[in-house]
């Protein structure tokens, strides 16, 4: 694979979102319409106790990705009720067209005491072309289970041969690496299937091998090109990943011919950090999509997408 970077196509600080939100446009996820491409992302407000709350917003690009032709100026999706899995933020949200509706798989966050958060994956539905979404219920469609004890999040859903596939991540460890510091999480990629997009069956195994103990794998995204399935995801160290570019998020790559067995080979990803740029320290939260028969990759750069997101186009297999 070889990707050509088209640059940072969205800059939060040059957008009107900064009037309502404080920062971030994380985990851009595309939904392709006839005349435009809608890109959902998570942006942040501060709550009364000075913690963050992530909210979903969107921008609509023309199909050359040179111009923003519309954006959300309203609440796309309310946060969950008191005590619910998505009470303290939704980040990210993965949209998919299902018949004449749009489903979106939300990653809901809720705050804990001994660790920062727990999470779950919810389903919301839009009947107005993706402008607003409503929950199908107050609880999650995918959550912790016997062998996936916490941090079930980052659902990405695709239909292949009439089966819904979800790739997501689950936590394996909360660990304190340095005295007097908060516990840090470790998570890896899992897979579930469904016939209706609502009831899911987990495969109950880690599907992408870790390169080392304590590697974090996040936000899998999958696309089919000819007979092969390609997965991008991001990976980082479990600690010291916020300010140390050597341990921070980078993109990983794996491929499969049967959706069961995945071969990881990051060296084939065909994309890497730039030098002295918006994506020179970090690349994270990838999202693959097709538009006009071209393959595109959305992602965030430095600081976990604090300032915006960028786009790359596939130029070689």
């Amino acid at each position: 694979m070889k990707w050509k970077k088209l640059g940072q196509i969205f800059d939060f600080n040059k957008s009107s979102f900064k009037d309502k939100f404080i920062s971030h446009s994380q985990s851009p996820q595309a939904l392709v319409f006839k005349n435009f491409v809608r890109i959902y992302f998570s942006t942040r407000k501060k709550s009364e106790n000075r913690k963050f709350l992530s909210y979903i917003q969107y921008v609509d690009f023309d199909k050359s990705f040179s111009k923003i032709i519309n954006q959300s100026n309203h609440e796309v999706l309310a946060l969950g009720n008191l005590g619910s899995f998505d009470e303290h933020g939704i980040f990210p949200m993965n949209p998919i067209k299902v018949k004449n509706k749009i489903y979106a798989y939300t990653s809901g966050w809720t705050r804990r005491v001994s660790v920062d958060v727990d999470s779950g994956i919810g389903l919301v539905v839009s009947k107005n072309g993706g402008e607003t979404f409503r929950r199908i219920g107050a609880g999650p469609v995918l959550t912790s289970s016997l062998y996936e004890p916490f941090l079930v999040i980052d659902g990405f859903v695709k239909r292949f041969d009439d089966i819904f596939h979800m790739w997501y991540i689950y936590g394996t460890d909360w660990k304190i690496y340095h005295e007097n510091k908060n516990p840090e999480r470790t998570y890896v990629i899992g897979h579930a299937i469904s016939h209706n997009g609502i009831d899911w069956k987990k495969e109950n195994r880690q599907i992408i091998e870790s390169k080392y103990k304590g590697e974090c794998q996040a936000l899998p995204t999958v696309i089919k090109k000819e007979d092969r399935y390609h997965m991008y995801f991001c990976h980082r160290n479990s600690y010291d990943f916020r300010n140390n570019p050597k341990k921070s998020y980078k993109l990983g790559y794996a491929y499969s011919d049967d959706l069961l067995n995945w071969i990881r080979d990051d060296s084939l990803s065909g994309i890497d950090v730039s030098e002295n740029s918006w994506d020179s320290d970090m690349m994270c939260y990838p999202n693959l999509f097709v538009c006009f028969n071209e393959f595109y990759l959305l992602y965030n750069g430095n600081d976990f997408g604090k300032n915006g997101f960028g786009l790359a186009k596939l130029i070689e297999d």
């Binding site: 619910s84 705050r111 609880g139 016997l146 004890p149 936590g171």
Partner: protein
């Protein structure tokens, strides 16, 4: 109306000495009958820490089968360990329910985690005992029954039963956290899940028991017992809007032919508070069991079992 004759208090955890983790409370009794004794599992609480927080542990006492007021032994350690950091059962295991499976004994328990916006959340875990029920090992770090679309939080109060080679797990789920005087109070409903192996569960996804005390009525302790051609459920219920003041939780009753459709008739329950004693404010969290041809009920007294549980015997039959 059924007629329950109260026989007295069986166990008071506040008089037990030198067990740090069993400071007070003996909640949600669940029996397992052995040849010479009746083992009663229950959950107790440690002393509160500086922040006023406590941890619930599950334990057992063994009662002399010939005289249930004779306590033969108290478990010398909790029957379940707490979960790892970040797990659903890091801060407590309460309540617990027991069933035999071949040579093993299975324990279903609600694991507790602490939250910021509400005090806690729970999900149901599974432990397996290979030492006759003295301790239970978990087979994974996560729950066997967790949150889902219509059951957003507080999956708790498991009561495991086996009928016709199939496992039935009666439990409660939270439907709403309601702020009363700025304090979150929960509205719980009785639910049901099915399993053939005790590990993989299919939820029924319906409330089993209609409310008689407003739509926010909380229901708990769905204790099901089969007798005379039907299933009898004793449970308890309360109004989350007023119960802190009234201290009232009541034992309710429902029956069913098929385990799915239940007819509620609290007027038949036949047990209420005493005039004085450890249960003069509250009689709650019932557990019905049969021993040597007699049917008994264990129940919690005042302050949800802070001072232990009592025993009553049924006069007549469950019909």
């Amino acid at each position: 109306m059924f007629k329950w004759i109260k026989l007295g208090k069986i166990f008071d955890p506040t008089v037990v000495e030198n067990i740090e983790w069993m400071h007070e409370y003996a909640q949600a009794p669940a029996t397992l009958v052995f040849d010479d004794f009746v083992r009663v599992y229950f959950s107790c609480r440690s002393k509160r820490d500086k922040q006023g927080q406590f941890i619930s542990y599950s334990a057992f006492i063994d009662l002399d089968r010939k005289n249930l007021f004779n306590i033969l032994r108290i478990s010398d350690e909790p029957v379940l360990t707490l979960g790892k950091r970040g797990c659903f059962d890091e801060f407590g295991t309460y309540p617990i329910s027991i069933v035999k499976k071949d040579n093993d004994i299975l324990a279903y328990y609600a694991g507790w985690t602490r939250c910021q916006s509400v005090p806690f959340n729970t999900a149901i875990g599974l432990g397996i005992s290979r030492n006759g029920g003295k301790t239970f090992e978990k087979i994974g770090n996560g729950p066997v029954l967790s949150y889902s679309i219509d059951e957003p939080f507080i999956i708790s109060g498991p009561k495991i039963r086996k009928f016709n080679n199939r496992y039935f797990l009666f439990y409660v789920c939270g439907k709403k956290w309601i702020l009363i005087n700025n304090k979150p109070e929960m509205s719980l409903k009785i639910r049901l899940a099915f399993s053939y192996d005790g590990i993989n569960w299919e939820k029924h996804n319906k409330n089993l028991i209609i409310e008689t005390n407003g739509i926010n009525e909380s229901q708990a302790s769905p204790d099901v017992f089969y007798a005379n051609g039907k299933y009898h459920m004793f449970f308890c219920s309360w109004n989350p809007l007023t119960f802190r003041k009234t201290k009232s939780r009541k034992i309710g009753y429902a029956y069913s032919k098929n385990l799915l459709n239940w007819t509620r008739d609290d007027s038949k329950a036949g047990i209420n508070i005493s005039e004085d004693g450890f249960d003069n404010e509250m009689v709650a969290y019932p557990h019905v069991f049969e021993l040597d041809g007699k049917i008994y009920m264990m129940y919690l007294g005042n302050e949800v079992g802070k001072f232990g549980f009592g025993l009553a015997a049924l006069q007549g039959e469950l019909k």
